[in-house]
């Protein structure tokens, strides 16, 4: 998956498991940038009575580099606190929840937002902000969109924030991918051929928890300017999200948990699928604990990928040029570790320098597309992945095609992509998501409710 349960240790700690990160110029206000970081993979909507929530013991952060050194220049921190109103019931709610202050809602969560700047200046922007409840069902949460809207908080400092449950927006045919990349539309070409079939969205009707932040572009640039020139390095930001836990935990056997020590990073994510498919199992937990500025140690895994090797084995004869290509994958390094330099794609660059780091790089001077293409830059849409990432971008297909060799010729003209490289897909698009994306903040769809999902 994008980064759901992607590493052995974090797969056992879903509350801290960073599943997706998005960064895009807001389509409904081009002066703003929206950053989303998702946690808690594969939430079954009916998962009560202890419905999903953020961890009070987790530090959630989204980091922004705006000067190309892969170091944090601006960090937003989010800390949560859960309050139980009635300790004498097992229920999440004892009646319909009609507002964020409804006394029927028993287990509520609040959070603080803190902005940390490069040299340590720390400002608590807000405390006690309410998260919405989970979407329980028509009797418990009869007007869920209104509850979620009430949980959109506009801060006096210019940011808009939301933290709570949303519908999973990442779509991928998990069943086929993990069944030896047996992509249904192309399984007739697989080493174990079956008739070609339509893709199945493995994340459909599941939820996640998102932390959403929207802010004016000039609050992210190094000099406070509004970026307007795509070739100006000041137009670029590199983004990643993380989750951290205290270094030590003591369990006293009386349900009291004590913690001490500094925060230790247990999960991080910039580009989708980076840790998932590029880093081998033995290194994934270590990768999660590292800062992006240290990613040069993972360069070899980016230059020499496993997926192309597997594709050429599972699809014999389908990718002959890819099978014969033995050079280090410079296209992968550009897409994932440095950004794409100017001169490769007309009108676009997101090259942040030679510091190798997995960051989601956004050129903020590129305006939102009037006719977006879910294949992003591969589809000729410069406002899409890997120029940041929008909620609807088909990042699985984009990366699959790149891994299959569709982007090698951009940096190595001697290579001719195989005919199938630019056709490969798991057969999905946003229409396979039942809860549609929103046209406004926080953009991810209304979470699926537990009464209707699953429905049979």
């Amino acid at each position: 998956m994008s980064s759901h349960r992607e590493a052995p240790e974090i797969s056992k700690d879903p509350v801290a498991d960073n599943t997706d990160v998005y960064a895009f110029v807001s389509p409904d206000n081009a002066n703003m940038v929206t950053l989303l970081m998702n946690y808690i993979p594969l939430e079954g909507p009916a998962g009560g009575p202890n419905f999903f929530e953020f961890g009070d013991d987790v530090l959630y952060e989204i980091h922004v580099d705006n000067d190309g050194d892969a170091d944090d220049d601006i960090t937003y921190q989010f800390r949560f606190q859960t309050e139980l109103r009635n300790p004498n019931t097992f229920l999440y709610n004892t009646g319909p929840i009609n507002s964020l202050g409804d006394p029927n809602w028993n287990k509520r969560q609040f959070y603080s937002v803190t902005r940390v700047e490069e040299h340590g200046k720390t400002t608590v922007l807000a405390e006690g902000l309410a998260s919405p409840p989970c979407n329980i069902g028509p009797f418990s949460t009869p007007n869920y969109p209104a509850l979620a809207e009430a949980a959109v908080h506009r801060l006096p400092t210019g940011e808009t924030v939301f933290a709570g449950q949303r519908a999973e927006g990442f779509y991928v045919d998990l069943g086929s991918v993990f069944d030896l990349i047996d992509l249904r539309p192309f399984q007739n070409l697989h080493v174990n051929p079956l008739p070609a079939a339509a893709g199945v969205n493995g994340t459909n009707r599941l939820n996640i928890h998102t932390i959403a932040l929207q802010l004016p572009k000039n609050m992210l640039t190094s000099d406070g300017s509004y970026p307007s020139n795509p070739n100006d390095p000041r137009s670029l930001i590199g983004v990643y999200a993380s989750a951290s836990r205290r270094k030590a935990t003591i369990l006293n056997g009386d349900a009291e948990i004590k913690e001490a020590g500094p925060w230790v990073q247990v999960s991080r994510l910039g580009s989708p699928l980076f840790n998932e498919v590029m880093i081998p199992l033995a290194k994934k937990d270590f990768w999660n604990a590292q800062a992006p500025k240290n990613d040069s140690q993972f360069l070899d895994f980016v230059q020499h990928q496993e997926v192309p090797f597997r594709l050429t084995n599972f699809y014999p004869g389908v990718f002959p040029n890819l099978a014969a290509y033995t050079k280090p994958r410079a296209d992968m390094v550009a897409i994932f570790l440095t950004g794409i330099p100017a001169g490769i794609i007309p009108g676009f660059q997101n090259f942040t320098g030679n510091t190798l780091a997995d960051l989601l790089r956004l050129n903020m001077a590129i305006p939102p597309a009037t006719a977006p293409n879910v294949l992003g830059i591969l589809g000729g849409d410069l406002a899409g992945f890997p120029n940041g990432r929008r909620v609807f971008d088909d990042v699985f297909t984009i990366e699959l095609r790149a891994l299959a060799g569709a982007t090698i010729h951009l940096v190595d003209p001697s290579f001719t992509p195989d005919a199938n490289a630019s056709k490969f897909t798991d057969g999905l698009d946003p229409s396979k998501i039942n809860s549609p994306f929103l046209a406004r903040f926080p953009y991810l769809g209304v979470p699926y409710d537990g009464f209707d999902n699953p429905s049979s």
């Binding site: 205290r246 270094k247 030590a248 003591i250 004590k258 913690e259 001490a260 020590g261 500094p262 925060w263």
Partner: protein
């Protein structure tokens, strides 16, 4: 550990811990500090406001990581670590 031994252990180790509590309040000593002398200074109560966890990271060097609040103070105190090892049996 018997009660007698436990009390003895607490009495002995509290000396080192109190010393370290004072050390942790001094920013200049945030890095590795050698504390061969076990003394009993007055320690601000705030230092012990939350849990404090001592992790012996290197027995041979007497190195201890003290986790208190959001801080980690690394120091060396071989006599303390020796006593801890004896207490651990």
């Amino acid at each position: 550990m018997t009660d007698l031994n436990r009390r003895s252990f607490i009495k002995q180790t509290s000396v080192g811990a109190a010393t370290l509590g004072l050390l942790s309040s001094l920013p200049a000593l945030a890095a590795i500090s050698d504390s061969p002398q076990a003394t009993m200074p007055e320690v601000p109560a705030a230092v012990f406001g939350g849990p404090m966890i001592a992790h012996v990271t290197d027995v041979a060097k007497g190195e201890v990581a003290l986790l208190v609040g959001a801080r980690e103070i690394i120091f060396r105190d071989l006599p303390l670590v020796t006593r801890l090892m004896k207490a651990a049996g």
